[in-house]
């Protein structure tokens, strides 16, 4: 019993971290229509910024400042915001698939930089021993995980609340207007480029936050945490959950990661031990089938976008 609970706490932590990323992507794609195919790049910047700021100094590495956890979180958000602003200035005029290709390339570049800038990132060996907040206060892994889960619930709650507020404000309506018809939005006197850039930076900042939360949970970071498959997983979460709906984004994170984990458990339980070596392939097929099925039966996602004009219109 306690084991299952302990696992579920761990699982929930991962889901919430992925949920923060999905919320960021939802702001970019769901509300503004920005096709960011480089999610994992901003996640990596946040992760490494945090790791470099908080890890204890080591003589063979530059960086590693041993700063407090909260400074690492703030630094990670600042670093990914800055990176998104610079990248955004260069690419934000690109539409649709062009932006996708550009951001995909940038994410791959970022991953390769983390792999090759040995003196800063530790290269392929990664950065070990990233301090976990207050971990010395807890005697068992479960105690720490419970504390971290509480922290994550608070952070996700705050992010969710803030996003809901700003997206129902005039600012949020401009984003939707740009997504639906950019020319019309410009004709109404809105600077589409400026709003697109703001949404891009804000969404990427959330991805950076997720990266920082992930490494301070796991305690280790290496370039292999930032393979393009993760971008695909986050996209699957948003599309399956419901693009344009923050609840859908979070539900999507839970559903997709749930499918990923549960299919592994299912295969391990059902496939006879002698065929365990073939079970992995079946699991991948199962994941693919579930994704296709969910898109066929719920094409707008599990919770689709709710047509809301403004919070005053609800009354």
């Amino acid at each position: 019993m306690i084991g299952i609970f302990s696992y579920l706490v761990f699982f929930a932590c991962i889901v919430l971290i992925l949920g923060v990323m999905t919320l960021g992507l939802n702001l970019q794609w769901g509300y503004t229509g920005l096709f960011n195919a480089g999610v994992v790049g901003f996640y990596a910047i946040g992760a490494y910024a945090h790791a470099i700021l908080v890890t204890a100094p080591r003589p063979d590495l530059i960086g590693n400042f041993g700063l407090p956890w909260i400074v690492g979180i703030a630094g990670a958000m600042a670093a990914s915001a800055l990176a998104a602003w610079i990248i955004g200035l260069a690419t934000i005029r690109l539409r649709g698939d062009y932006l996708a290709i550009a951001t995909f390339g940038i994410a791959t570049t970022i991953q390769l930089v983390t792999l090759n800038w040995d003196s800063l990132t530790g290269g392929a060996q990664g950065l070990p021993a990233i301090p976990r907040p207050l971990s010395t206060w807890f005697g068992s892994p479960l105690g720490f995980n419970l504390f971290y889960l509480g922290l994550l619930i608070a952070i996700v709650g705050l992010v969710y609340w803030a996003l809901e507020r700003i997206l129902r404000s005039p600012w949020g309506r401009v984003l939707k207007a740009i997504r639906e018809d950019e020319t019309a939005a410009i004709a109404l006197g809105k600077s589409a480029q400026s709003f697109r850039l703001q949404a891009f930076v804000l969404g990427s900042t959330l991805m950076g936050l997720a990266g920082a939360l992930y490494v301070s949970f796991i305690g280790f970071v290496s370039p292999f945490d930032f393979l393009p498959i993760l971008t695909f997983q986050i996209w699957a979460m948003l599309i399956v959950g419901g693009s344009g709906n923050n609840k859908g984004a979070l539900l999507g994170a839970l559903t997709i990661w749930g499918i990923w984990a549960a299919s592994g458990v299912l295969i391990a339980k059902l496939v006879p031990p002698a065929y365990a070596a073939q079970g992995g392939a079946v699991q991948v097929i199962l994941i693919g089938l579930l994704l296709v099925a969910s898109l066929l039966f719920r094409p707008r996602g599990l919770i689709g976008e709710v047509p809301v004009v403004s919070r005053h219109a609800d009354d």
């Binding site: 991962i14 392929a124 292999f224 945490d225 393979l227 984990a261 592994g264 458990v265 391990a268």
Partner: protein, 419 residues
Amino acid sequence: MKKWIALSAALVAAVALAPSDAAAQANCPVKIGGVLPLTGSMGPITKKIAESAQLAVEHINAGGGVKGCPVQFILRDDQGQPTVGVDAAKYLVEVERVQAFTGTISSGVTGPIISSITAPSKVVQISCCSTATPFTLDGRSQGYFFRTLPTSKTQAVATASEMARRGLKRTAIIYVNTDFGQDMTRFVKLALPKLGGDIVAEVPYTDNQPSYRAEVTKALAEKPESLLLIGFPKDAVTIVREWLSLGGTQKIALNNSMRVKDFVDGVGGRFLNESFGMDNAQVQGPTVDAFNKAFEEKYKYDSKGPGVHTQYDAMMAIALAMNIAKDLTGPSIKDAVRQIHAAGGATVGTGPEEYKKALELIKAGKPIKYHGATGPIEFDVNGDVTGPALVWKIVNGEIVTDHVISIDQMQALFKRIDG
């Protein structure tokens, strides 16, 4: 939301009141967890490794299990992705309550499993294949991580010595840009000049690319007379084909991962007659032959391939240590792992009969010396093993063993290089 908070509060209270040490109970069956990349870029080499683990479990159960219980092996796929591997490991440790753990191959997955799962939960982890040197050295594992294959240093030094013996000059190194590739390159660079070779180019590559023309062209620009390729079979096929088609020499040195038929057939055996490679050697002897024979009988193909022998030894080391340990808690098993090769112990080998013999000795309180599918398995203070190396070559499209560099010769080489 309120309901959820109330529910979590209730669960927290339940946890706080529950007895915390449930892992120590010796319930049958005894569970051993495993995480391996059954799919993804490592998929082709992992199948045999997983089968080897299954064979070991069969031998263990046929020979008497662990403390009178049969062993249940639960294997999960990490897909080569750290988050997936960490989740699977957490599930095995918490829900399945495995008392020991084996895995995995890619060091990028093994690293986070050590730091976030096995070390904090005090579960012994023995890997067949992760070579990144810092894992056992920088204290992150708190002594809970072991591996049954010699680290990259052994293979790198053996490679350098064989290249020097064959008189290869002006070597270009193309290596996969992972911790494994970087480690190998670092140690080859250290060793080769001292043994009489020289390196003219070092080109890293990223795995899973459709073409490596740029990397190959860069290496060829220095007019190398030989190539050392360090990587994994799928990409290596592409690299060697491009290397040869752009006029590169056929004098190619390879690492252990390329010792698979897929690689030789992918390139074409007739282009590889001057190539050779390195692997961790199975010491010649009855315990090695017994394993090979058992593997071939069960699966109807040979046991050649990276990780196959070391995985068997990882499983056997876990099972023997569990029997030696006074109880099945992590700290007891951890201390027992080093006693599977005790001074003055009676030699025990591979297969169910030998395992049975080992159990009888352990029951009688006598020390044992485990000689496995890769020869004597003796963990040093860090949890590493040293071993002999094997030089293989390709003759008419078949992989054949050329010769073996014994443990004594390896130690002599280490002395020459480390000064």
